[in-house]
Amino acid sequence: MPGPKAGVIVFPGTNCDSDTYHAIKQVMGIDVDYIWYEKKTLKQYQLIVVPGGFSYGDYLRAGALARFSPVMDALRAYSENNGLVLGICNGFQILLEASMLPGSMQKNKTLKFICRDVHVRVERNNMPFTMLYKKGDVLRIPIAHAEGNYYAPEQTLKTLEGNDQVVFRYVDEKGRVSEDANPNGSVYGIAGLCNAGGNILAMMPHPERASDKLLGSEDGRKLFLSIKKALK
């Protein structure tokens, strides 16, 4: 029987597609396909990644133009069927614009692009994406974005927190929430979010850039390994 298969969506302007592809291959050791944004069905996959980059140049608003691609209807159908979806960085922004998750992104509070390692705390591990982490684990993972300042109305935030939908939160290296540890101004320090069903995870930090010792951190590996385990 063939093993599980992952797909990495490629929009015009996506640029973390091959990084993500590489990480999935290396860490999970499963088959991966690139999925062109015009594709209309995703039925044959067990994991879909919406990777980082600048789909459509991030013009107008990050993620705003990509969301109308044909593959997005397929992605919605796939996720409604409980398929696993991982959105990273621009992928997060696209999932928000597509209303697959609530809220929206604003410019970083510094108004600048920020590329550096940050610390995030695992807030939840009873889900396919994080089951190999311990709750409260502090991970060092790079961010690289100009619009990662998550916003949602108070009511929505309450629901998110109430439902345990915040999966990663920016913290300092000791695991404490603070304004200084929050690189972009995100409300409640939200760095990663899932849907109520727990099969869609979106995060601003790049786990694929923290999955190889050579690159300075392997803290993102367990995310891919968790998914692998979930797919078994």
Binding site: L60, R61, A64, F68, S104, Q106, K107, L111, Y151, A152
Partner: protein, 81 residues
Amino acid sequence: MLAKIFIKPKKGILDPQGKAVFGALSRLGFSQIGDVRIGKYIEIRLNVNDKSSAHADVQKMCDTLLVNKLIEDFTFEIVEG
């Protein structure tokens, strides 16, 4: 016809860019300013003759693509020419 669309951050939504420009203007000595909000201005040329259908189209463009209504408000006007 020409559609002019004005988009701005919703009331109550933090506008970091506006805040930065407010700071810069204050430093330049413009002391009498209250608040600065920065949004988008979009001009779309429409090859149609009927103003009311143009209106409906632009409304739809804003609703589906141009505006993120969670954080933005908008108005627009259609002018001849």
